[in-house]
């Protein structure tokens, strides 16, 4: 323990040195700017600015990149809450409750809770990272294809609890999303699927254009033509901070989100979007008044945002402890380290203590910096909403186009965004939820690939899912949840019909 404290002291002495602090600050600002842009998330931000770090020394470079990462996550929740445009794919859940809160005039509190929740989650998960990195990493490595499949199935089934409206409709949308995820090269066989000759679709439809289109563009399509200006209640100055009740309702969601996000984040290759979806589903299940969800429940912002942020720190566990890239973002960080001649591996922590501890300490610092940056900015951002909507939405549209193009430099993505926007518009007219589509789209490739890899590993035998303990346990939990979900909604249907029958029989 004393060694850890000593190392932490070393780390802080590195992190709090003026020029490192400067880099952290710059990284956070740049990250926030990049994150506010719809669709352009941390990965794009880091990739874009990676070349700029080549001239710096290793610790500064890593600190800068980590700052951008965090900043982008914070910035992403801003557009999600204020304009229902997912700042990045993982903020999709925040869009739902956050925007509803903005409509109710509670946009300020939503932003504040998102910032505070992110801060708490970020800090707590960094502590966990610091203390538990090596043992957790070894545990995470034991996740192979069968375990992934079970975990992802579990995440997908949490959808059963997402439905505000009809569970059938949500499942249909999930199936649609999964189908959309089938577009592209099949990694197990090399076949191109459903891409009709367009090489750009080789990697699939892309989460960013789909999410921005389904959420952001469809929102613009729905509200732009309204004769009456949309009901965005302009908040008064005193209402920028959350009420005591909102604070109190957020504590447990933040706690649960942190733990959940961290656990999901340490598993290499799991998408962070799962953490926010599962957190949302969990909060909805555990809430005392579930019908508030969909109309501005603060728990639906606090939970997913915290889960998101701690998944971020969780993702660094395999990277730092083992040198294993747990996703595209840690892969870029590893590349940044390699460029500076540091090869990440199991010996990184012992051979490069200033880097590791400096990194950890800079994450604390980054979290504080972002909190300080974002809370006052809440007022500034809210004022953006005062712009009359007919002027605002073309600007938002422009940002959407900019953000979606920036991800891949491809106009095909803008076309996808447009098509998805039209689809989202129609779906919402028909009273379908669009969030499950995004979840399905993200999960489909991993779900299918893990399934087929697992079968490859076992040479075609299905026992592998049951023989391995982690996978087996998760599958059992998943099916139990599914059964419970079907039973309870089935019982609700029976009740409803009885009531309707009663109503019909009365004149």
């Amino acid at each position: 323990m004393t060694e850890t404290l000593h190392n932490l002291y070393l780390g802080f002495s590195v992190a709090l040195s003026p020029h490192i602090l400067l880099y952290a600050f710059v990284g956070c600002i740049v990250g926030t700017l990049v994150g506010v842009l719809p669709g352009v998330g941390p990965l794009a931000g880091i990739s874009l600015l990676l070349p700029a770090t080549f001239g710096l020394n290793a610790t500064s470079a890593i600190v800068l990149l980590a700052g951008i990462y965090y900043g982008a996550m914070y910035g992403g929740s801003t557009t999600s809450i204020l304009m229902r445009i997912p700042g990045e794919a993982a903020s999709v859940m925040t869009c739902i409750e956050g925007y509803a809160m903005t409509r109710n005039g509670r946009g300020g509190p939503a932003l504040a809770i998102a910032a505070v929740g992110s801060y708490v989650a970020g800090t707590a998960s960094v502590v966990a990272l610091m203390l538990l990195a090596p043992p957790l990493a070894s545990f995470a490595l034991r996740f192979g294809p069968p375990e992934y499949f079970s975990l992802l199935l579990l995440g997908l089934l949490s959808l059963a609890y997402l439905s505000g409206g009809s569970m059938l409709k949500s499942l249909a949308m999930a199936a649609l999303g999964l189908l959309l995820g089938m577009v592209g090269i099949d990694p197990m066989s090399g076949f191109f699927r459903f891409n009709y000759g367009w090489v750009e679709l080789g990697d699939g439809l892309g989460v960013v254009p789909v999410a921005v289109g389904l959420f952001g563009l469809s929102e613009i399509l729905l509200t732009a033509g309204q004769q009456v200006a949309p009901e965005v209640i302009k908040p008064k100055l005193g209402e920028l901070l959350p009420s005591r009740e909102e604070w109190r309702s957020s504590i447990w969601p933040i706690g649960r989100g942190t733990v959940l996000g961290f656990l999901i984040g340490i598993i290499p290759g799991s998408a962070h979007i799962i953490s926010s979806f599962v957190s949302y589903a969990m909060e909805r299940r555990l809430a005392k008044h579930p019908d508030r969800f969909g109309h501005g429940a603060i728990e639906g912002v606090a939970g997913p945002e915290s889960a998101n942020n701690s998944a971020t720190s969780g993702a660094f566990v395999p990277m730092l402890a083992l040198g294993v890239p747990s996703g595209p973002i840690p892969a870029v960080m590893i590349a940044a380290m390699m460029v500076h001649g540091i090869s990440p591996g199991p010996l990184l922590i012992s051979q490069q203590p200033e880097l590791f501890w400096g990194f950890i300490a800079s994450m604390y610092v980054g979290n504080v910096v972002l909190l300080i940056l974002n809370l006052p900015l809440v007022g500034l951002f809210i004022n953006v909403l005062r712009v009359p909507y007919p002027l605002l939405y073309p600007a938002i549209l422009m940002f959407c186009v900019l953000g979606v193009y920036a991800v891949n430099g491809s106009v095909v993505d803008i076309g996808i965004m447009t098509a998805m926007g039209a689809l989202g518009y129609v779906l919402r007219k028909f009273d379908f939820e669009t969030a499950p589509i995004v979840l399905g789209l993200v999960l489909a490739p991993m779900l299918e690939m893990s399934f087929r890899q697992a079968l490859s590993m076992s040479s075609g035998s299905y026992d592998i899912f049951i023989n391995r303990p982690i996978a087996g346990v998760m599958l059992i939990v998943a099916f139990t949840l599914l059964l419970m979900g079907i039973l309870s909604s089935g019982m609700k249907k029976i009740d409803w019909r009885r009531r309707l029958g009663l109503a019909e029989s009365q004149p």
């Binding site: 874009l48 409709k169 249909a172 066989s189 002027l391 549209l397 920036a406 430099g409 447009t418 028909f430």
Partner: protein, 147 residues
């Protein structure tokens, strides 16, 4: 007769049939060694099922004709603007495309005055380009005319 659920369910059914039809070119594989068509066909079958479950008891949903499409003018204008962006962005360059887009939306769709529209549009187009392309080095197309 035509409720929203029925129409939506029907659309889903048609879509899943389309997917199954399109998957016929890919090998299905076996139970033990699933091929590239395996998952799409399975999912399409599920979607088909869901679509049927939606449309058959779909009587209780609101009528299709009751769905208002009042905003169709704005919707078509915005979608047309986006499609324009798809084709123009790399040919005309970011700044010019966005300028035209904004002017179109503000002047023609929203009927604002010409001068404030131009000022607003130019500021946004050039300002965002400067911020994101020049400072943050986000690659934005500069088109054939150098814009």
């Amino acid at each position: 007769m035509f409720t929203t659920d029925r129409v939506a369910g029907g659309a889903l059914v048609l879509f899943s049939l389309l997917v199954i039809w399109e998957s016929r070119a890919l090998p299905l594989g076996t139970w033990r060694q699933p091929g590239p068509a395996y998952a799409p066909v399975l999912l399409a079958a599920l979607l088909l099922l869901f679509g049927l479950c939606l449309s058959v008891p779909g009587r209780r949903a609101p009528l299709f004709s009751s769905v208002g499409w009042r905003e169709w003018r704005h919707v078509s204008a915005i979608l047309a603007a986006c499609i324009f962006a798809v084709f123009a962005l790399e040919r005309l360059g970011y700044r010019l495309t966005v300028l035209l887009l904004l002017v179109f939306l503000l002047k023609i769709v929203e009927r604002r005055g010409l001068l404030p529209t131009l000022a607003f549009a130019a500021t946004l187009a050039y300002g965002s380009f400067f911020l994101f392309h020049t400072i943050l080095r986000v690659p934005l197309p500069q088109g054939l005319l150098g814009f």
